[in-house]
Amino acid sequence: MASPPEPDETLVPPAPEPDAVPVAAPAESDAAPVAPPPDSDAAPVAPPLASRRAKRREQPLAIRIAHWCNVLFLTLMAGSGLQILSAYPSLGPQGGQYSWYPFQGIPPPKWLTIGGWLAGGRRWHFAIAWFFILNGLFYLGYQFASGEWRRRFFLPRRDAINGIRPLAYYARLRKNPPAPDFYTGLQRLAYNSAVLFGIVMVLSGLAIYKPVQLHFLTALFGGYDIARVVHLAGLCLLVMFVATHLMLVALHPREIVKMVTGGHRD
């Protein structure tokens, strides 16, 4: 917030505030009967009620639960998915395998697979898929219900410039780090695209799971074999996201602590 140039002036105020304005500030008396929020596990000094309501941890409990569940589910989905891929480690229909795919006929390494054999891989994949989807719905549902989406969604007007600045800083085109905000535009873009990849995975997965019952969905992807390509490409994108995520988390280890404890209320 240090000295934002003009474009920032028009922006939405820093994320937690929009929440605070409608809910707590104008009607303190309304908030009076409300008990302390259920997730107030650490409250050494009780701040004024109104501001307590308004303030949320950097990583609220629901986000942390969804995050760590997703670590588990995504690992199981990827491992069992690679087990399934091993049964036909090629892309394209029989007699028409795609020449651009460099790994035709090369199965993924056995140690990356979960399930032991095709039937086991399928069982894991179709069992965990439900939890993966429910967790995603819980994550998005929570964000919309709580207003958390305001500080987590990439909003072009706020985040386009905000997203270029850290890039410029990393590329040493800018001397100063971007003004501290909850997330930079780049982070918002990265986290949102991971959610988008997840949605593409679910849809392309359904398209190859039920290519007749859901043939409109399969057709939307350009047919069964292309939907299968999309499904594998989605895995590659998610793996790239996770790799980048782990690298950046290794550079900022405090973020892991926040994703466990929730961090401070701001």
């Binding site: 588990l72 979960i114 399930g115 039937a119 086991g120 179709f126």
Partner: protein, 230 residues
């Protein structure tokens, strides 16, 4: 704080559990069985008897030498000399049908995409008699809910739900791509359906039984999905 640590412990434990589960530990096995039952119900509910697989043009057909061939016998299964199809179970008029009798029934042809459980697809045209037509002729009992298909391929078999078996794209097929079925693809008669995965489509048919109770199948008993719809 203690709550948080215990949650972390819980998560670590859950991860460890699930990794162990890869080696078929008991709780994971129970969980997977539970989810398999659930998925089977969902597959049944998702199945629509009226939804048909898109029919494809001749240009989409896979070269026949590229269409994979599977059987479980050690050598290519050969039809017995006096081959015929037994149709029985809970039916009013059990029948024994010869190939000629099947040819005399109304025939249907469809060119559709074949979906193998392994993940590949291929396209061929199939010609034969709708199973629903045969069911009509034998007169199935109202208690019938399932259909069992048996073969002369070393006892390969499969059990189906009645709804999928009565689908208009479920055929007792004797022809493939403008020629009689070859031994590779299940001669003299095979089950072919656009709404099931490949392993449900029993080749080298010998028997069709309409049953009130659910029966398994060669792959189904080893852990593959029983419904196996697409």
């Amino acid at each position: 704080m203690t709550k948080l640590v215990s949650r972390r412990k819980f998560l670590t434990g859950a991860t460890a559990l699930s990794l162990l589960a890869g080696c078929e530990s008991r709780p994971a096995g129970a969980f997977l069985n539970l989810m398999r039952g659930w998925n089977e119900r969902v597959e049944g509910l998702l199945f629509s008897p009226n939804r048909v697989a898109p029919e494809l043009p001749e240009s989409a057909a896979t070269d026949e030498e590229d269409f994979p061939v599977y059987f479980i016998s050690t050598a290519m299964p050969q039809a017995p000399a006096n081959w015929s199809l037994k149709v029985g179970g809970l039916v009013d008029h059990p029948m024994v049908l010869t190939l000629d009798e099947l040819h005399a029934m109304p025939s249907t042809e469809m060119r559709v995409r074949h979906h193998c459980v392994e993940g590949w697809s291929a396209v061929a045209a199939w010609r034969g008699v709708r199973l629903s037509e045969v069911a009509r002729r034998v007169g199935i009992d109202p208690r019938v809910r399932y259909v069992e298909f048996r073969s002369f391929d070393a006892g390969y078999w499969s059990g189906w739900d009645l709804a999928s078996a009565m689908h208009p794209q479920t055929l007792l097929a004797y022809g493939m791509n403008d020629h009689p079925l070859t031994a590779e693809h299940g001669a003299p008669l095979r089950l072919y359906s656009a709404v099931k995965l490949g392993y449900k489509n029993v080749k080298y048919l010998t028997e069709v039984n309409f049953l009130p109770n659910k029966v398994g199948g060669y792959w189904e008993d080893q852990g593959y999905e029983w419904f196996g719809g697409v």
